[in-house]
Symmetry: C2
Subunit: 636 residues, 2 copies
Amino acid sequence: MAFTYLTNVPLEQARKDYLRTLAEQGFAARTERIRVQDAYGRVTAKAVYAHINAPHYACSAMDGVALCARDSFGATDTTPVTLSDAQFTVVDTGDPIPEGCDAVIMVEELVKNDDGSVTIHTPAAPWQHIRQIGEDVCAGEMILPSFMEVTPAAIGAMIAGGVLELEVLAKPVVGIIPTGDEIVPPCTDPKPGDIMEFNSSIFSAMLASWGAEAKTYPIVPDKYEQIRDMLEKAAAECDLVILNAGSSAGRDDYSVSAVREVGEVLYHGVAIKPGKPAILGYRGAVPILGVPGYPVSGIIVIDELLRPLIDRWYGREPDGGTRTRAKLTRPVVSGLKYQEYVRVRMGYVGNTLMASPLPRGSGVVSSFMKADGMLEVPQGTEGYTAGEEVRVRLLRDKQRLKNTLVVIGSHDPLLDELADLIHREDRRLFLSSAHVGSMGGIMAVRRGEAHAAGTHLLDTATGEYNRAYIRKYFPHGGVYLIRCVGRQQGLMLQKGNPLGITSFADIARDGVRYVNRQKGSGTRVLMDYLCDKYNVDRDKIYGYEREELTHNSVAVQIAGDSADAGMGIYSTAKLYELDFLPICVEEYDLLIPEKVWNSGMVRQLVRTLKSEEFKRRIEAMGGYTLDNPGEIIDVF
Amino acid sequence: MAFTYLTNVPLEQARKDYLRTLAEQGFAARTERIRVQDAYGRVTAKAVYAHINAPHYACSAMDGVALCARDSFGATDTTPVTLSDAQFTVVDTGDPIPEGCDAVIMVEELVKNDDGSVTIHTPAAPWQHIRQIGEDVCAGEMILPSFMEVTPAAIGAMIAGGVLELEVLAKPVVGIIPTGDEIVPPCTDPKPGDIMEFNSSIFSAMLASWGAEAKTYPIVPDKYEQIRDMLEKAAAECDLVILNAGSSAGRDDYSVSAVREVGEVLYHGVAIKPGKPAILGYRGAVPILGVPGYPVSGIIVIDELLRPLIDRWYGREPDGGTRTRAKLTRPVVSGLKYQEYVRVRMGYVGNTLMASPLPRGSGVVSSFMKADGMLEVPQGTEGYTAGEEVRVRLLRDKQRLKNTLVVIGSHDPLLDELADLIHREDRRLFLSSAHVGSMGGIMAVRRGEAHAAGTHLLDTATGEYNRAYIRKYFPHGGVYLIRCVGRQQGLMLQKGNPLGITSFADIARDGVRYVNRQKGSGTRVLMDYLCDKYNVDRDKIYGYEREELTHNSVAVQIAGDSADAGMGIYSTAKLYELDFLPICVEEYDLLIPEKVWNSGMVRQLVRTLKSEEFKRRIEAMGGYTLDNPGEIIDVF
């Protein structure tokens, strides 16, 4: 059952060999004729020449009269010249110059007489105010060279030059074949075991951004013949083919054999992580790329191995993106065998650009959505230490990062509402939050990595929240503690409380599956405090070691019947329709460094905390109390 | 007949007042529900929350067996644990974790026995290799805040979260009404007086680039009621309306009255040039913008006054573009009353970025296509002197400018073929040529403003081409003269030579309309030399003062029966099917500064001159002789 991939070829080499092999096979752009009106953003396949002159006739450039310039010679203020109506023709801008005329006098420069004649006081220079034939475009002239992107003005110039159609590079059609017995089309109520097919939607959007067109085929079950037949059909109908999933080594993975039957396989296995099981195949000039099923792996394989083919199709330089230096907030450990891709959240706190590694699970597509940058750990490198300066490829523009409030610390769903409210108020501003628990937030503020940290740490000695910790970790001050909300903490329980849990101590009962929060989170501090207070033996709690990072993720384990109880806040229990055993009301505050206190972003944050709309939203969530949010708490 | 616009309001104020007035009228984005699959690049109208968890069930993260972790406790290399087939379930990646199981062991870490049992040598930690419910997305969590652009990964995260539709800002629909009796749809054989309607195609492409959708109405003749009725229809059907042409002061200009009848006019006349006659109107919350008919004026008005409305619709910051400093090659004179827009060609020669003003005629849409940048001369400024450093808004990216060969000098259609060949050979490279005559080219090279100059200057004393001029203007060397082509010069005549012109001297005959080239062009030098040689009195030549800038534009005057004769090259006469009276073969060479000689761009230029494909194209054009093009000519 164990399986080794055929190859562990370095990415650079795989890409180069793939491009070369495909070039030898004749992989090249198709062209097509389209209407000029539809050509915006397309790329000319060959030079475009004008068919006619523009203007195609000599015409007046002004409103006025056309005349023969000689008839006006000698006119001055003292010796005006009067032209009979046979000597001139009234013309508007754009009117043709009548036969025998070679100049135009502007309406403002002549006097109309009652007998229909006009009097002028300045002679007309021959050809004045006349747009000559071809002034804009001459017939036969090249309007656009080959392989140029068509701009709005070029569309105008082509039509002016009588060009109504042109030959452009066709958009490459990329067939996407989703495979897998467990794969189902997107829906709102999947059954256990169903995996929703959304990779093709992600890939289609990526392809669109590169100027390619996706053609998604129906989902093919894990049947060898059906996969092979669909591959043949797609390779015949498309310019490139993506075979999704089945590129790994499970029992139903027929992909590589199917690619081999319909064409050739150059490599199976590339030294990247995620993305290793990629299949680099082709049939004739049609590339067939086998892409792993996990969305993050798929995105990386498509970006690193399919995008260069689209670039080659259009003959354009690969867009390497913008790389920048950033300070790593946490260590990144990587294997020597692969080039590893680590998604990072980024933010400027002061002048330093920080990069925080996001979860690396390749099934976690939301991590890609949250990523501001990509850290590529080269093959042969073991990783980086915290605080190290690394080069990161930016996935968002720098200005946005400069306008992003970095909130690191305890999780509360109200942070998402704050993000929404702040961005609605000022669309230049963004809020990005990372959930590392209250202690993690305090440390992030200490290291200068966050604009704000959510914290709710109980000093078990005094029963007071946050103040003692702040005094301990910031003995010299330099931070503000800002009142945010009071929130109801307690035990979240399955709906209807089937196990009859009525006290905190019940979580240690036999048959109760508990789900815990991670160390350093305020909720974990509270949990451990309660264990001591009620003399509950941690070893007796089934699931004490099972850690989740947010209130929500604890709640969903309970709602999904994978656990029976977990500590959390009332608003989350309400969201998931769980039963709730209230334990205490805690203070959830925001810690903000003094040095960013007067920044526009933090000013907006405080304004939003004080707003009516924030109050309205918080009250709708339930389980919160509001007592002057945004107010500075006296700590020191 | 004279007319004054109502207002000459500064652009900034006009824009601000227009935006404020429209906001008061309720101008705001519509929203619409669309499928998530179609949402790439769209902007969320409100926050999007997950409906379901992803994964929605606890599933295996590996291929292997699911078990109850406790059953594996104590397993080591020396004391392996064997599980009966009742104690585990074979699972593939993505399979649901069966009831009672809480861990997965990878297939690589177990030994299958013949009796169906498996043996393991390491205990499983509870929850290992299990993707927890909601690991990616938790139901109820915010996936995207309001007013965020939808990325490919966000599409994946939404589908994973059970979101199949979302509410986005609708693309604003912009109605475009072309008006004018003389306006006809695009065609290849317009009659004299017909003006092809291509503005709507230009505007549509501009709108598409801003995320708006154009809806172009049929051309409306200059009939007041018809214009008014179409305005009413468009204002009812669209989010914004562009009324094209008729915003000026000619006899058929009903626009402003029509806008006033269906709605309100805020301003008629803005202090910009071109674009002054713009009408800033509205009906209720629907902006109605009256746009001048000349394409360049129209583009500027749309860019300066309609684009901000689209930005406001989407709530995004106006994109001010990239501004950069550049050295002006020629003076720009501007009126004090207006902010003037001057299109410029730009290029790097060495490290200096140069900006050369393009023709300012507002009918010349091709100048917009050729423009690399826009110089905005503020209201109240008289312009700039040559050599002055100015700020220019870039219309292309800087890297492209750095990769552009700047060729300034004598016109020959072969320069367009060179541009095409060089870009086909290396798509990073571009060639931009400006036609200022041979002397203009020599001066541009002397001032360090060009990588190459086409030149064919006859030394009338020796009959030799170019060398004497180069020695005179570059007494210390520093340039290479590169052989390009020999070309046949002569008189281009109307087809069939109806006037029976058989010698150069005939151009001074009565009834012959001549069209000349501009001073400083090699062809003009030749013309004046021939006048002296054959004793032709310049005063007797009708049209001696009528100057055109290229061989083509001389030819089209003759082909269009606006002239009878003009000096030019054989290939141009052939292109326009004119008769041709040969006079001499001249040397058309390229002058290249030594300091750019070894640059990649100039290397490619020389390679292309020596190529077979260049030879093939030149021979197809006719009238050229090739004698080692690309070779260095011994000058000094």
